[in-house]
């Protein structure tokens, strides 16, 4: 076996067979890489791998595919859409230089926007591995990614929320009750998005109709989504259902996407079907993607690539389809991939940074399951860090408790905490609606009014 990457440290020589191994060993500790047998074997080995990675020219990632071009359509997408002209200004830099450059005062939102098509997911993953949490926050904060459908997501000092009114039996009044609760707490500008309990096309159509009528009746400047498989949504469109956003979970390898029952062609077909409806009012970004570290490993489709690099490759898939929203579901997958609050926090910051650097409207489902070593305090920490980093949106759900998916994510109250503590506001169109309905006494200082907004008063009558 020949070792491509080597470094002498004292009397020890550290060697790494290939780029994938080097990337994996350089990754901050997490349980999923250990489970896959890819993690660094010692703390020293990890830092040595990071040192070698820092010396690596960015060009390396164009010449050495970590998953072969011939067998993986995500690799082909990354290589075929790479923009050499955009890459030219940084083509001579190493990964270590790249970190310095991103942090330097030479770089602002405009340089970052111009650079995007020249950056590959692997370059983003590599530089993130040698960045501290504060670096991930600071550079992400410089990135500006603005998307539009019926409102504008991602403007500076804005934090949007997906209102997630899930119910274990999709009971229509149960869902409506959670929607109303969320709206009265100023949540729901990113999307009103339901994870259906019964996952089939007719159920999907009914839920879409429910939300569409609500949005139209109360003229809420937002969009709806049923988070069902993309092929279900295509069928729903064919049946004439009022589809705003098209949802799909995506991953960073062709084989992992296979296990989700999707490929680039299916996503293209869905995207075109959505565009044909022309339902956006201020813009036409209409795809909604969810991702999360560990999905490729869990589908046994990671090709010896660490989970964070796999995750970043999913962003190449996402950016091909100009999404309105993308979010990592960072703590949902469980402790075998991200063990505790510390690992969840690091992964959340990495995912947000890499996605923003690549030009995605990145949000985060700041969440945990009951078998992970995490609690509400860890979520508060990550929420605050992501709020500072300029995260596009978070979830909003009654009292943090998803009674359908059995996990905990951020509450309607949490979103208001973030807005209050960090001076953030919802999307401007939604802000106007909240003002018109007098849901807030003072929106700038995040003071709510007591009582129910006027258009909804009729529900208290009987």
């Amino acid at each position: 076996m020949t070792f491509k990457y080597k470094k002498q440290l004292g009397t020890r020589t550290y060697q790494f067979a290939n780029l994938a191994e080097l990337m994996a060993k350089a990754t901050p500790e997490r349980s999923g890489d250990k489970l896959a047998g890819l993690a660094a074997e010692s703390a020293e080995q990890r830092v040595v791998a990071q040192m070698i990675l820092a010396e690596l020219p960015l060009k390396t990632f164009l010449n050495e595919a970590i998953i072969p071009y011939e067998t993986d359509e995500v690799t082909r997408l990354i290589i075929d859409t790479h923009d050499k002209a955009a890459f030219a200004p940084i083509a001579h830099l190493t990964v270590g230089d790249f970190r310095n450059y991103l942090l330097s005062d030479q770089v602002d939102e405009f340089t970052l926007a111009a650079l995007r098509p020249g950056i590959t997911p692997e370059m983003a993953a590599a530089v993130s591995k040698i960045m501290r949490n504060q670096d991930l926050i600071l550079v992400a904060k410089k990135c500006r990614v603005v998307t539009q459908f019926r409102n504008t997501i991602g403007l500076q000092n804005r934090l949007s929320t997906r209102l997630q009114p899930n119910h274990p039996t999709d009971a229509v009044n149960g869902i409506a009750a959670s929607i109303l609760d969320g709206l009265m707490f100023g949540n729901g500008d990113a999307v009103i998005g339901i994870n259906p309990a019964t996952d089939n096309v007719s159920q999907c159509c009914k839920l879409l109709k429910l939300m569409d009528e609500l949005i139209q009746t109360y003229q809420i400047p937002t969009q709806s989504c049923v988070l069902t498989h993309v092929t279900n949504t295509i069928e729903a469109i064919e049946l004439g259902a009022p589809v705003d956003l098209i949802f799909q979970s995506i991953a960073g390898t062709q084989a992992a996407n296979d296990s989700f029952g999707i490929n680039l062609n299916i996503l293209k077909e869905a995207h075109e079907a959505g565009l044909s409806l022309n339902r956006g009012t201020v813009g036409n970004n209409l795809m909604y993607f969810e991702t999360g570290q560990g999905s490729a490993l869990s589908a046994d489709a990671h090709h010896g690539v660490d989970q964070q690099t796999c995750e970043t490759r999913a962003y190449a898939v996402a950016r091909q389809f100009d999404p309105l929203l993308v979010n990592t579901v960072v703590g949902f997958i469980g402790p075998e991939y991200l063990f505790d609050g510390k690992q969840i926090m690091r992964a959340g910051l990495e995912d947000h940074f890499c996605a923003k650097l690549l030009g995605l409207p990145m949000g985060c489902d700041i969440c945990y399951t009951n078998h992970a070593y995490a609690d509400q305090n860890d979520m508060d920490n990550l929420l605050t860090l992501l709020g500072v980093a300029g995260c596009s949106f978070i979830m909003g759900i009654p009292g943090s408790d998803d009674i359908m998916l059995n996990y905990q994510t951020t509450s309607f109250h949490d979103a208001l905490y973030a807005r209050k503590a960090m001076g953030l506001k919802p999307a401007p169109e939604f802000e106007n609606w909240l003002t018109e309905l007098e849901i807030f006494q003072d929106l700038d200082s995040v003071k709510l009014n007591d009582g129910l907004a006027k258009p909804f008063l009729h529900i208290l009558e009987h």
Partner: protein, 284 residues
């Protein structure tokens, strides 16, 4: 400068939400009020208690003595329960290494092989009890479920040959495959503590697999989820299990090949009323 001290009125601190009556529509934590924009103390602590119970469910070890005694006291258990262990040594290992929780330890596997050779019986069904992610689910629901299932089995086919119940500590569903293989049973039914939810720390999962062996894919299993009095009740759960077992023996397969044709009561609630209270008396 002087400050005028006025007594804080406790009733004025927390704002209640006037839509509390909507709680009848959902168990979601709606209309919980607010202190400023934050969650009021009573709701905060209710949540913390639910989370604490869920954590305890994951970490409290299974009470083996009680469970074994209860299993051995069941009617017509002619062979006493067997106590086995997965390859995951402890809870931390179990949580981080699902691959190890899926396999019986070498000594457990060997013990079962030898047991089967000594007994020289042909088993139709192996019953496996894994702690999974909630020992409290097993402690609360395993015995009543097995009782209900055994009563069903007695009704149709008098000669179900049932292996002694096998308890697997730190076991995942696939640990049952090793049990089925080593005991040479025709099918296996695994009772396991499910990943605890905030409002359901003690939910039991039941998995049925025809001719399971090491490496059997999840697509070959049938699952009955959320077995507990507040979820799928014992009689309904055992009905489903009974149906699935009979079908598995009839078609000699399980999993995707075996469709559950029993009807869920709560299915498709939307067909009854497609409009919510929010749209009553409202027109577009």
């Amino acid at each position: 400068m002087s400050h005028k001290f006025t007594k804080v009125d406790p009733a004025s601190i927390v704002s209640q939400n006037p839509w509390a009556k909507l709680k009848s529509f959902t168990d979601a934590r709606i209309a919980i009020g607010r202190a400023g924009t934050s969650i009021p103390t009573d709701e905060l602590l209710k949540f913390q208690l639910a989370h604490a119970q869920a954590i305890d469910a994951v970490h409290n070890p299974l009470n083996l003595q009680t469970l074994t005694a209860e299993l051995n006291q069941l009617d017509d258990m002619d062979e006493p329960a067997l106590l086995m262990h997965s390859q995951a040594n402890d809870r931390i290992c179990y949580l981080q290494r699902p691959d190890l929780g899926r396999k019986l330890s070498e000594s457990s596997y060997q013990t079962l092989l030898e047991y089967r050779q000594a007994s020289n019986r042909q088993y139709d069904l192996a019953i496996v009890i894994c702690d999974g992610l909630s020992a409290s689910a097993i402690e609360a629901h395993a015995i009543p479920f097995i009782k209900a299932l055994k009563n069903k089995l007695k009704t149709n086919k008098a000669d179900w040959q049932i292996a002694p119940p096998v308890i697997v500590q730190q076991g995942r569903v696939a640990a049952g495959d090793d049990v089925c293989e080593s005991l040479k049973a025709k099918a296996v039914i695994v009772l396991i503590g499910e990943r605890p939810g905030l409002s359901s720390p003690d939910s039991l999962g039941v998995y049925i697999t025809w001719q399971a062996k090491r490496g059997t894919k999840d697509a070959s299993r049938n699952c009955i989820s959320n077995v507990r009095p507040a979820g799928l009740k014992y009689p309904d759960a055992s009905d489903k299990a009974f149906y699935l077992l009979n079908e598995a023996f009839r078609i000699k397969a399980s999993g995707v090949a075996l469709k559950d044709r029993t009807v869920d009561e709560e299915q498709d609630t939307l067909t009854h009323n497609n409009r919510s209270f929010l749209l009553e008396n409202k027109s577009l």
